[in-house]
């Protein structure tokens, strides 16, 4: 394993990677994936990529081109310093000024947070991935180059274009899961500092991974969804999903669109519509069976709950949040219900809480709560024995650690899964581990980033899944279900299961929560969960 000796290495060793993980040195997974030398190969970064972009470690997330001239180099350094100053201004950063200053000023550099970070741990404690490695660099740059304080007080660091470019790249080696922050005895938050670095890069320098910005929030604001679906296409797709769902369940269903005066505006992550159509289909089946007054919106952005700005840019974040609220206002709904998407939950319910005012301040509710209330109402006839297979539950960080929605999903599982079939992961609830796809990683796969993600960020979750099923046969014919009530987490869990071929080899399948409900509904044909890999 190669790792930096010091935070000062960030501006040293030009053109060289600062860290390298030898996959053979990683901690083996539990059986049946415990043969480290039989794990899938970790694709190497191409030489062409190493030539063209700034190099930090074994992968590239952001694609920052190496500067060709001194002016280009200066632009990187000066842009970063100017953005850093703006983070301390009320005008430009009232949004996070207090939490930011708190974390900049009060870290005692005690390393309590290191044990909590799944990336640092699964990397074999590679210094580069230590939660405060990047925070410390940011702090030193600030105190030395902006505040002009003596390095004897806050520590020393060289500042050059490579320090800046590598630091931005390093801010995309953190899932923003805030597990580290939970253990900090002072209240400092390394995830927040990662996000603030991303903000400097995006909001001041225009540097962002394409998947989050051009193909993410920009596309969403331009055509209506980061999937590229326009309002017309989304309506067509939902119509198709309704037909397909009715065929699978034997119960006709029509998803209502643009119903003025409906009680609920349901906003899905549009990725569900494209990749997991059974999820919106299941929502429609359950909501209709419960007799709810609900609707989807066909207004651009109003049908896609994603809000990638939550990971990198406050303005992009606010733009999307406001458009979600505008769609709800136009329909005059009583509340917005967020579908199975963790970051959409947190973005619109918690963070946008300090953006939406007046007639845009429409109450937001988690679908976990709505679904739990439907179950409690007794309107659905349920037969848990239809879900007679082992089930474990992934807690999406955004929904659980960062919103405190912990019990509704468990109450639902209790009602639809036979006793003894559900097992918790360890740890779970607010102490859970991130799926590894957090902060945008689930949709980022440039170069060999997907491989890096599987080996570094998703490994802890895969370990937990295997441990949760450790008392079950790992024969592929013995089907086991990982319930992930979040679209991004589901995508990441799909990817990691596929990487290890865990469905074919060990019968581990994944899906959402509402699918488990429909699978247990007496009034629909059995077999809604089809155990077909997709």
């Amino acid at each position: 394993m190669k790792q930096p000796d010091s935070v000062k290495d960030m501006g040293r060793h030009p053109g060289q990677p600062l860290a390298h993980i030898n996959p053979l040195e990683q901690i083996p997974l539990p059986p049946p994936f415990d043969k480290i030398d039989e794990e899938p190969k970790f694709a190497q970064l191409s030489e062409a990529a190493r030539e063209k972009y700034v190099v930090l470690d074994d992968t590239i997330a952001v694609n920052i081109e190496k500067p060709k001239t001194k002016e280009d180099e200066d632009r990187l350094v000066n842009g970063f310093l100017s953005g850093l100053e703006k983070l301390f201004s009320v005008e430009d950063n009232w949004t996070f000024l207090q939490p930011f200053e708190m974390s900049m000023e009060h870290c005692a550099r005690c390393q309590t947070c290191s044990d909590a970070c799944p990336i640092f741990q699964e990397s074999g404690e590679n210094e580069l991935y230590r939660p405060i490695y990047r925070s410390e660099i940011l702090r030193r740059i600030y105190f030395k180059y902006v505040k002009k304080a003596s390095p004897a007080i806050h520590g020393d660091i060289d500042l050059n274009w490579e320090t800046v470019a590598r630091l931005i790249e390093l801010s995309y080696r953190c899932n923003l899961c805030r597990r580290c922050a939970q253990t900090c005895p002072i209240g400092a938050d390394n995830a927040l500092l990662s996000r603030e670095i991303r903000k400097i890069a995006s909001m001041e320098m225009g540097i962002v991974p394409k998947e989050l910005h051009d193909d993410g929030s920009v596309l969403q604001l331009r055509v209506g969804s980061s999937t590229g679906m326009t309002p017309m296409i989304v309506k067509d797709n939902i119509e198709f999903i309704d037909e397909d769902t009715a065929e699978r369940t034997g119960v006709p269903v029509t998803t209502p669109f643009d119903v003025v005066g409906a009680d609920i505006l349901l906003i899905h992550n549009a990725g569900e519509i494209m990749a997991w159509p059974e999820n919106p289909g299941a929502f429609a089946t359950v909501f209709e069976a419960a007799g709810l007054s609900w609707t989807l919106s066909s207004d651009a952005v109003g049908y896609d709950g994603i809000n990638y700005g939550v990971w990198y840019d406050d303005v992009q974040f606010a733009r999307v949040a406001v458009r979600h609220a505008m769609a709800a206002k136009k329909l005059g709904v009583k509340k917005i219900v967020l579908g199975e998407c963790g970051h959409a939950h947190k973005a619109l319910t918690v963070i946008a809480d300090k953006v939406l005012t007046g007639d845009l301040n429409i109450p937001r509710e988690s679908s976990m709560v709505t679904l739990r209330d439907i179950i409690r109402s007794g309107k659905l006839k349920l037969d848990p024995s239809r879900n007679d297979f082992p089930v474990t539950l992934h807690d999406p960080c955004n929904l659980v650690r960062l919103m405190g929605v912990v019990t509704p999903q468990r109450e639902i599982i209790k009602a639809v899964v036979p006793e003894g079939r559900f097992r918790e992961m360890a740890p779970h609830g607010v102490e859970n581990y991130c799926c590894g796809g957090g902060s945008g990683f689930a949709i980022m796969s440039g170069h060999n980033f997907a491989d890096w993600r599987h080996r570094m960020t998703g490994r802890r979750k895969f370990r937990q899944i295997l441990e949760a099923f450790s008392d079950e046969s790992m024969d592929p014919s013995h089907r086991k279900y990982v319930c992930a009530p979040c679209s991004n987490c589901k995508g990441q869990i799909r990817d990691i299961l596929a990487y290890y071929d865990a469905f074919e080899k060990a019968g581990i399948y994944y899906g959402g929560l509402v699918e488990l409900i429909v699978n247990a509904m007496v009034d629909v044909q059995p077999g809604f969960i089809d155990w077909e890999w997709h």
């Binding site: 207090q98 009060h106 007080i153 320098m205 225009g206 303005v315 963070i351 405190g404 609830g429």
Partner: protein, 310 residues
């Protein structure tokens, strides 16, 4: 010489108070920020705090009265302040050094408070009350103060050594070492004075009583008196120095919990928060990336509402 000690003590204490108040005011005046809470939130009622749940689990939460439990907060805060529970849970190795250090400070602080009380009692109350009180203080203050000094020194040395470990070394600036050394030296001199010349705290008690009554008379003779002066000067300088460093985290931590981690009060329609938010959204933005479209004049609201569909 003794006059110098009195002057430094007054200045040190006044500076400490002013600096702490200034930091408190700075943190409390910061603008409202986006919610960034982290569960468990200790004041969540209805048993939710125990597993990290929130009011967002409730049906139509915005129609319900929130259950906010002050007792719940105290149940977390008091053990955290006294025993550094988070550190004990997540970093036992460091806790074995940090706990004695912090607890030592509390004991020294407690002993000082007792001596101040003794000074007030002796100076301003009738003997019938002041004599028994002084006797009690005379017993308690040396016990607490002595134990506090020893614990503080042991903890500070432990922390100093710990900073040499592989994981901490690179993250340690010279100032971090200086801070801990300052504690070792100031507490060390005070402990030596206590052990060699002032076992019953009579000298330091008299000094503090004089401080309270603004009587700048000399206390102690010869080396004993000199050691007392040196102790007072070093401790007063330390007290003044603390709030100027990141050791002021005892103030910041309050806000880290109450204004960030546990700050979950929602912006309800028509509520007070809406006005504050609207004012903040009217502030000008100057971020330079082209997609922001800022010019230093347009507000957050302007750039948020600009048509992005082209």
């Amino acid at each position: 010489m003794t006059t110098l000690a009195y002057v430094v003590a007054y200045v040190g204490v006044v500076f400490f108070v002013i600096a702490c108040v200034a930091r408190f005011v700075m943190w409390s005046k910061m603008p409202m920020h986006m919610r960034w809470e982290l569960y468990p939130v200790a004041h969540e009622g209805g048993g939710k705090a125990a597993y990290g749940g929130s009011y967002l689990e409730d049906t139509e939460w915005w129609t319900k009265k929130r259950e906010v439990s002050l007792i719940g907060e105290l149940k977390v805060m008091v053990p955290e302040i006294l025993f550094l529970v988070a550190l004990r849970e997540h970093n036992r190795k460091l806790w074995t050094r940090s706990f004695p250090f912090h607890f030592g400070l509390y004991l020294v602080g407690g002993a000082t408070a007792l001596l101040l009380l003794g000074g007030v009692v002796a100076g301003f109350l009738p003997e019938a009350i002041s004599q028994p009180a002084e006797r009690l203080i005379g017993l308690l203050a040396p016990a607490l103060g002595g134990a506090g000094l020893i614990l503080g020194i042991v903890g500070a040395i432990g922390l100093l050594l710990r900073r040499r470990s592989r994981a901490l070394r690179d993250y340690t600036a010279p100032a971090d070492l200086f801070n801990l050394l300052f504690f070792v030296v100031a507490f060390g001199v005070a402990a030596a004075t206590w052990l060699l010349y002032d076992r019953d705290f009579s000298m330091v008690g008299a000094f503090v009583a004089n401080l309270v009554t603004f009587n700048l008379a000399a206390v102690g003779d010869g080396t004993a008196g000199l050691m007392l002066v040196l102790s007072v000067v070093l401790l007063a300088l330390l007290v003044a120095y603390i709030p100027t460093t990141h050791m002021s985290h005892f103030i910041g931590k309050y806000f880290a919990y109450h204004s960030i981690r546990w700050k979950d009060d929602p912006n309800l329609p028509g509520g007070e928060q809406e006005k504050v938010i609207e004012e903040l959204l009217s502030r000008p933005v100057s971020w330079s990336a082209p997609h922001i479209g800022a010019d230093g004049k347009k507000s957050w609201l302007d750039v948020t509402l600009e048509d992005q569909s082209k």
